[in-house]
């Protein structure tokens, strides 16, 4: 950004609900669980919260228009400034970016940031709602679904870099296994490469075990200005860099093999954080992994691997929990679940706990002082990146 920022902002508390295929709870209740847990973990009272940010992906899932107005009480927004930032799937990480600018502006000292998703309300299957994200005239009538666009991108990525399916299946193996240690996980499981490749072909080259499930869940963090953070929190996790970037809607005019939008968002965040060598200065990463190949795609966009090289590093164990640069130690979307906005939030919460040494069995072996979380969204368009550090 190149200018002098007014004040520093930290994350001082975090909370998550269980991630489930079909929650009994309503969206308002799920938001409350997460928000309450975040508040308690921060050691603040409800009245200490000056503002609320909510992020949640399409209204079509919950089945309520202007759904954040409906979720307001669950998110703690009663007689408070309340804002919804929306960048599709990128919203989970963007929520913290928005919380950052709410507090960094000087207008608020504290901000409760909530991410919620209740996909199971959409019947007969949430996947159907994704048809409406495509161009209403030129694409929807073709019967397009979300699997198509991911499969098209995955195929392009594999073709350009001459990758094999086994290389990509390793991501599912790693993440689903990592998720066995995550208390919120929806479908943690130890799977093998063979099992992944034997699973149902949904839209070739995408196999079922390479796709994250549809999920209900919520997550929240509390963000605060430097003064407040230093007073109430024993180990604040500082927002060191933020970046976000949205590419053109004409996705069929772009070469999908590389995510420019992630690269630009990462550059913006690294510049703010003063990072010139991300591979040395970033110790832990939580890139967005709705599909197995996406983690690799995004690691390259984040500058943590050369183009086409992420699969090779993965195979060497570089991105394992005990590797040099642990990636998705939480278990990611593939392992923990994919409640769109709450999934990005889950990744940020993971960094919060890892950087404070509170991740228990998931704690990575190497010492960590700085991590990056990234979310993706829209028609292969959005990169939202946050660098957190202690």
């Amino acid at each position: 950004m190149g200018l002098k920022l007014r004040r520093k902002v930290a994350v001082i508390g975090a909370g998550l609900t269980k991630f489930m295929r079909r929650a009994l709870e309503t969206g308002r209740e799920l938001s409350f669980y997460a928000a309450r847990q975040a508040l308690d973990s921060a050691g603040l009272r409800f009245k200490d919260i000056e503002s609320v940010v909510i992020s949640t992906a399409p209204d079509a899932f919950d089945g309520v228009h202007m759904k954040t107005e409906w979720l307001a009480d669950g998110c703690g927004s009663f007689h408070r400034p309340y804002l919804r930032g929306y960048v599709g799937g990128g919203s989970g990480v963007f929520a913290l970016i928005q919380g950052w600018y709410m507090v960094a502006s000087g207008m608020f000292d504290t901000c409760l940031v909530v991410a919620e998703e209740k996909m199971s309300s959409c019947q007969p299957h949430p996947q159907g709602a994704f048809n409406t994200i495509f161009d209403h005239t030129l694409e929807r009538d073709l019967g397009v679904n979300l699997l198509w666009i991911f499969a098209l991108e995955m195929n392009r990525y594999m073709q350009v870099h001459k990758l094999g399916l086994e290389e990509i299946a390793l991501v599912s193996v790693k993440n689903k296994k990592n998720a066995l240690d995550h208390p919120s996980a929806q479908i943690p499981k130890a799977v093998t490469v063979e099992e992944v490749l034997a699973s149902e072909v949904m839209a070739w080259p995408v196999h079922r075990l390479m796709v994250s499930p549809t999920t209900d869940g919520a997550g929240a963090v509390v963000m605060a200005s430097e003064d407040v953070a230093r007073r109430v929190c024993d180990k604040p996790v500082w927002v060191e860099g933020v970046g976000w970037c949205l590419d053109s809607a004409f996705w069929t005019n772009r070469d999908l093999y590389y995510p420019d939008y992630v690269e630009k968002a990462a550059k913006m965040a690294y510049e703010m954080a003063g990072i010139t060598d991300p591979r040395r200065e970033i110790h832990i990463a939580e890139p967005y992994d709705p599909f197995a190949y996406k983690e690799l795609h995004h690691l390259e966009g984040l500058g943590l691997a050369d183009r086409g090289q992420a699969p090779k590093l993965l195979a060497k164990g570089f991105f394992d929990r005990d590797g040099d640069l642990p990636s998705c130690p939480s278990g990611g979307l593939l392992g923990v679940g994919n409640p769109i906005a709450a999934a990005g939030m889950m990744k940020c919460c993971e960094l919060f706990w890892q950087l404070r040494g509170e991740a228990g069995k998931r704690q990575v072996s190497r010492p960590v002082k700085r991590g990056v979380a990234q979310a993706w969204g829209d028609l292969m368009q959005v990169g939202t990146v946050i660098v957190l550090g202690v």
């Binding site: 975090a14 909370g15 998550l16 609900t17 269980k18 991630f19 489930m20 295929r21 079909r22 929650a23 009994l24 709870e25 799920l30 669980y33 847990q37 973990s41 089945g63 199971s120 299957h125 996947q127 159907g128 994704f130 209403h136 005239t137 030129l138 694409e139 009538d141 073709l142 019967g143 397009v144 679904n145 699997l147 198509w148 499969a151 098209l152 991108e153 195929n155 073709q159 240690d181 208390p183 919120s184 929806q186 072909v201 949904m202 839209a203 070739w204 080259p205 995408v206 209900d216 053109s248 004409f250 069929t252 005019n253 070469d255 999908l256 919460c349 706990w353 509170e358 991740a359 069995k361």
Partner: protein, 165 residues
């Protein structure tokens, strides 16, 4: 270990059917205005042609056409007729339909870079008259239109793209 005390009760399919629920069928109907650029495209499809547009500043030839070049940020209006042939940029073989139901005979969506448009500029459509095993990136294809009397000025006026013999 964090997170602790995670709350939330998961329901299985049966539990979901038996839980107290409220059903609501939304009536959401829209009639989208096509505007200047896309109208020309659709009129072209009705006439059995694929129409692109040229930016006088960067020289790119773009499809689907638009009233401004999003990179140069200038209004453009130089429509160009394309041949209807192209190359497969990427493709997939899909056994799952938009509503998550499964099909035996797969659909083959593809991004097709159109001949006459700038490199990398393509449209989304489906492939037909081809065995999925034979589809490959770089394959030359051509548009197959519906019969003239059946065309309505929609993207489905193109039935599919088939390999060029």
């Amino acid at each position: 270990m964090k997170p602790d005390n995670v709350r939330g009760k998961n329901l299985d399919k049966k539990g979901f059917e038996e839980a107290t629920r409220v059903k609501y069928d939304l009536k959401a109907e829209y009639a989208y205005d096509m505007g200047y650029a896309v109208s020309r495209y659709l009129m072209g499809l009705k006439a059995g042609k694929i129409v692109g547009i040229k930016c006088h500043k960067c020289g790119r030839i773009l499809v689907p056409p638009r009233a401004f070049c999003e990179q140069c940020y200038v209004p453009i209006d130089d429509f160009v007729e394309l041949s209807g042939r192209g190359r497969v940029n990427t493709f997939s073989i899909s056994y799952v339909k938009w509503d998550a139901s499964r099909v035996e005979k797969p659909e083959i969506p593809a991004v097709i870079e159109l001949e006459g448009a700038s490199p990398g500029v393509g449209i989304l459509h489906v492939l037909g008259e081809v065995d999925p095993k034979d589809v490959h990136v770089g394959m030359e294809v051509e548009a197959v239109f519906k019969e003239e009397q059946d065309r309505k000025g929609e993207i489905t006026d193109i039935l599919y793209f088939r390999p060029v013999k």
